[in-house]
Symmetry: C2
Subunit: 180 residues, 2 copies
């Protein structure tokens, strides 16, 4: 899905179907034989991103089975890596969410569900890790994660990523000391 690059770089509404077709090395007609509308194209693109992130979580769970702290830490590290690879344009999902105000848009719903699932996962991890107030800690994690994407404009993504990792490590270690 080469269209995604365009969506991300120029904004969903800023890129025309013609340009998408060209980027996919085909033409408008063929495109419309596979996708019913531009909205469906957008939705499939979003679905792909979301699926990829969900896959990442499965991988995380497989790699650190029964180790919630490890999952949280690895998660922060992967996020930091993504941040490092990120350009001026910020998070694809975040931007897409802002560009699709219609609450009934399928792509928006996909993103919302994914956000909810992710947050629930983090709450579960915090609970499993024995954090005294899992809801609070989870919200904190989520806030920082979401925020990290949009504040690379201030100091650069590298530093933000490192600090994200730092603070997650710190919280996990603190909690370990507390429970030990």
């Amino acid at each position: 899905m080469a269209a995604g690059d365009l969506f991300h770089k120029q904004g969903i509404r800023g890129v025309g179907v013609e340009a998408i077709a060209e980027a996919a090395q085909t033409n408008k007609m063929t495109l419309y034989r596979y996708f019913a509308s531009k909205d469906e194209l957008i939705t499939e693109w979003v679905r792909g991103i979301v699926a990829h992130k969900e896959e990442d979580w499965k991988d995380l769970n497989a790699k650190h089975r029964g180790d919630p702290e490890g999952q949280l830490q690895d998660w922060s590290r992967r996020t930091a890596a993504q941040l490092r690879a990120m350009e001026e344009r910020g998070s694809a999902l975040g931007n897409a969410f802002a560009e699709l105000p219609d609450p009934s848009h399928p792509a928006r719903q996909l993103m919302k569900e994914h956000k909810l699932r992710t947050h629930k996962r983090v709450v579960r991890l915090c609970k499993a890790a024995g954090f005294p107030d899992p809801a609070f800690s989870a919200n904190l994690f989520t806030m920082m994660l979401e925020g990290a994407h949009s504040c690379g404009t201030c100091v650069g993504m590298r530093q933000i990523g490192e600090h994200l990792v730092q603070v997650v490590d710190l919280m996990v270690e603190n909690n370990r000391r507390r429970t030990a």
Copy 2:
């Protein structure tokens, strides 16, 4: 600037000049006698929001002169209040930033400058408050602030706001204990 409501609710690109004029209880022609283009309209709208936020900072500084911790805490409380008053649609500036990919767009530059100024202010406050690693703490604050806006989708803005206040208070108190 009633146009702002439309920009915020339907997205900048999703609202036409005609609708803006109608919302301002006038018509397109009169609008174009005051603003050279839609982009200028957007820019002025953004300028207004940014100016308001800067004014808020001045007020913060005036109310807690020589008390950096107090400024940080009050800042988190004001943000929480904004979050509580926020609907499904999220932060106006955040969305605008996502909707204006062109780095040379004046509105985008305004937002970027504002973000940088704000972050520098937070760094200065952290330094003044005697945080051991001001850059780190400031990034943490900014991450949470930025993130709070975009993760109300998960658990609702009220809880996010409260937790933002909680963690800022916690950090400030921790630092106070450390330096005492």
